[in-house]
């Protein structure tokens, strides 16, 4: 933003400038088309925001002129205006030291001008996006994939164009219609939202953050990073603010909304979908929206009237015996197959450390008798696997991590934590991470971090979006060859980045399934627990060649 525009905006907001400067600015505004356009764009958008945050005016004089009653239609109970809804949304964030009063003060500084510019829609720039896969590599979950079916109970499907391929657990869906006559099912959306539905149901998946419910019962969980997820019904829109909520739509288009946890805004529109008013619901609050335009009534919350979440289904991993042979032929430092009994899992490499299971983690057996580990932990009983002892690693960063994983949902979770050994455990100083990500900016994504020395910030990351689907086993290799970080999925390179020349490495503790070790004092919700399956975990003191990685994958 240049100085002239900055000063014009500041003056418009009431900041005092000397007369000479004002004269100069007016002259520039007359002569400079670009400056004028930028100023207008900012002023008009800032005004739009101001109107939205202001209370709806009561035009009694107009009502008298028209000879009509002012105010909302009969049957209404008092509720918040749109403007109050918007500002309440903004105020929900903590701001210690901020004045309690919501009195609007005339702005006198560049920052307000910059804030106004925040709402310009006419300047050209692009959002930062995670790196695209290398040329020739297809995305596992291309942009057309919006969700995956993760759970299903006695569902009788009807015509549902949203399906990509056969209907079944782990199958992806694109934008489109989903109908079922009976049963219930759950979807995991690429931004981490989980949606359960009870038939008879007719849904339209519009995007990862917008679903339309024309009939049926839905239950939604929206994790952090996916706020703003919206369920549209024939007569209202439920906009999430970070919550668990449910929506019922009956054949008469009457909508019931209940928030179980967190907050949601219910925006009621007329039949032409023009917004009429909005209201906010907190935990255990419910509202009924009638089929007639603008009819809304607060009702007593009855959780039993709304559907319950449908849990995802576990998927076993069938592997050929050739897979283990291929891995062993590559000479891993450690290799754990989780085939034995009990909680203490032996290393296939003689003399190597075992891995111990903690919490709600157990084995699952496939038809081929291959066993994999299932992480079924929650905040009350987290689960993880931890290697006994330390992985020594060389000073030059040259190593590889290999495993199979199956996530039960898109979500933010930690597959692998590598923690420093320079201070006693427990601590939060990471030397490496492999995480699954799911939010509005990183749908179905993955992050591989290398950091040395171990710490809480800095390091080198590579991130990929749309690289995995839940309820499907995926082969993963994350490695460092001293010059690059690389991630291979299902035998193909999906992302890589260069390391700075002076990067090094060192010994680490190895943990699977959670971000921080037990005993580290942090909020439980920051554990980023992984839920799903892991198998065939291997560590190498060297990077694998692309040919080896491909051969391992194809030996499955």
């Amino acid at each position: 933003m240049n100085t002239d525009l900055n000063d014009l905006i500041a003056a418009w907001h009431g900041f005092e400038l000397d007369e000479a400067r004002l004269t100069e600015l007016m002259a520039r505004l007359r002569e400079d088309h670009e400056l004028r356009a930028a100023f207008v764009a900012e002023v008009s958008m800032y005004s739009r925001i101001k109107v939205v945050r202001s209370a709806s005016p009561r035009w009694l004089k107009l009502a008298e002129e028209l000879g009509v009653a002012d105010g909302p239609p009969a049957g209404e109970i008092d509720d918040e205006s749109f403007a109050e809804t918007v500002m309440e949304r903004l105020r929900r964030t903590e701001a210690p030291g901020r004045p309690a009063s919501n009195r609007f003060r005339a702005a006198r500084n560049v920052l307000l001008a910059a804030a106004a510019l925040a709402f310009l829609t006419f300047m050209v720039s692009k959002l930062h996006q995670p790196p695209s896969p290398p040329a020739g590599v297809e995305e596992t979950a291309p942009a057309s994939v919006l969700a995956v079916l993760t759970g299903s109970r006695d569902v009788k499907w009807e015509s549902s164009p949203a399906w990509i391929g056969e209907k079944g657990i782990g199958q992806p869906l694109t934008a489109g219609s989903i109908r079922a006559a009976s049963g219930s099912f759950s979807l995991s959306l690429v931004n981490g939202v989980t949606l359960s539905a009870e038939a008879p149901v007719h849904l339209e998946v519009i995007s990862a953050d917008n679903v339309r419910c024309l009939l049926g019962k839905v239950r939604v969980h929206v994790p952090p990073g996916a706020e703003g997820f919206t369920v549209d019904t024939p007569n209202c829109a439920v906009v999430d603010r970070g919550t668990d909520f449910a929506v019922n739509v009956n054949a008469d288009h009457e909508t019931n909304v209940m928030v179980f946890e967190g907050m949601a805004d219910v925006l009621v529109g007329d039949p032409a979908n023009r917004p009429l008013f909005g209201t906010s619901l907190a935990g255990q609050q419910a509202v009924k929206i009638g089929p007639e335009a603008g009819s809304k009534r607060v009702v007593a919350a009855k959780a039993v009237d709304f559907t319950s979440p449908v849990p995802p289904e576990a998927v076993p991993l069938d592997l050929s015996p050739e897979y283990a042979k291929a891995v062993l032929a590559s000479g891993p430092w450690g290799y754990w197959r989780f085939e034995g009994e009990g909680n203490h899992h032996a290393n296939e490499i003689q003399g190597g450390p075992a891995i111990t299971g903690h919490g709600n983690v157990f084995q699952r057996e496939a038809a081929t008798a291959n066993r994999s580990m299932v992480f079924a932990g929650n905040l009350r009983e987290p689960s993880h696997l931890k290697m006994d002892g330390v992985w020594p690693r060389t000073m030059k960063p040259s190593y590889a991590v290999e495993l199979w994983f199956e996530a039960e949902n898109f979500g933010n979770s930690t597959l692998l934590s590598l923690l420093g050994t320079d201070i006693p455990m427990p601590h939060n100083r990471h030397a490496g991470l492999i995480e699954l990500r799911a939010n509005n900016r990183e749908p179905g994504g993955m992050r591989f971090l290398h950091r040395w020395p171990a710490g809480t910030d800095l390091g080198v990351n590579i991130s990929s979006a749309r690289v995995y689907l839940p309820c499907r086993w995926t082969h993963l290799v994350a490695q460092c060859d001293g010059e690059r970080l690389q991630v291979f999925l299902d035998g193909a390179l999906v992302s890589e980045t260069s390391l700075p020349l002076d990067f090094s490495s060192g010994p680490v503790h190895v943990m699977l399934g959670r971000l921080y070790p037990p005993g580290f004092q942090d909020k439980p919700e920051n554990l980023r627990l992984f839920r799903g399956g892991v198998d065939e975990f291997a560590l190498y003191d060297r990077p694998l060649s692309p040919e080896e990685i491909r051969a391992h994958y194809e030996a499955r």
């Binding site: 003056a11 505004l29 004028r36 005016p57 028209l66 918007v86």
Partner: protein, 185 residues
């Protein structure tokens, strides 16, 4: 509201169906208020003037030519009322009002064009986009909207003033793209 809907409503008003005019007010109220706020700045003034715009429009509805754009016609009424608003005795003596009057005069054509794309549909989109800002950016934006000094925002967010500026620019980019995606659906 498309032209056929508008014409139907315009047909009903002369027959005494004044609630038909309420539908027109509902359809155009947001854009008229936005336009006026961009001219006169204070919402109280903008809302008072908006009411006068619709009263004037109701009384002079018979002068509207149906081949013209109704929103533009309303904004023409608004511009006249704004000129009279700035010419009241008290406002002529205040430098800030003289400044805003001159700015409105210079940028009137562009503001009118910008107002023609202010639709009710963007309200919900804006609501969703703001709620999806990362927490720190949302707090910085909120502070700016409420006129909080940048130094105070920096203190609240435990960062520097320079970082607060950078956060606003980042928020600009995120909201721009979010709105563009929302409104293109």
């Amino acid at each position: 509201m498309d032209s056929s809907e508008l014409n139907e409503l315009l047909d009903q008003v002369p027959k005494g169906q004044n609630d038909a005019f309420q539908h027109i007010v509902r359809a155009h109220g947001y854009s008229v208020r936005c336009y006026l706020a961009s001219l006169v700045y204070h919402m109280d003034d903008a809302d008072d003037l908006a009411q006068e715009v619709f009263i004037t429009a109701f009384k002079r509805l018979h002068t509207f030519r149906r081949e013209n754009d109704f929103g533009a016609w309303l904004r023409g009424i608004a511009r006249n009322l704004v000129r009279m608003h700035f010419r009241t005795t008290g406002r002529r003596t205040r430098a800030i009002d003289r400044f805003r009057e001159e700015v409105a005069d210079i940028t009137g054509h562009e503001l009118d064009a910008a107002a023609s794309v202010s639709h009710n549909e963007s309200i919900g989109a804006l609501l969703r986009c703001v709620s999806r800002l990362p927490d720190r950016l949302r707090r910085a934006v909120q502070g700016g909207l409420e006129g909080v000094a940048p130094s105070e925002i920096a203190t609240n967010l435990k960062t520097s003033v320079a970082a607060v500026y950078q956060m606003h620019w980042r928020a600009h980019q995120l909201l721009r793209d979010c709105l563009a995606r929302e409104l293109s659906r």
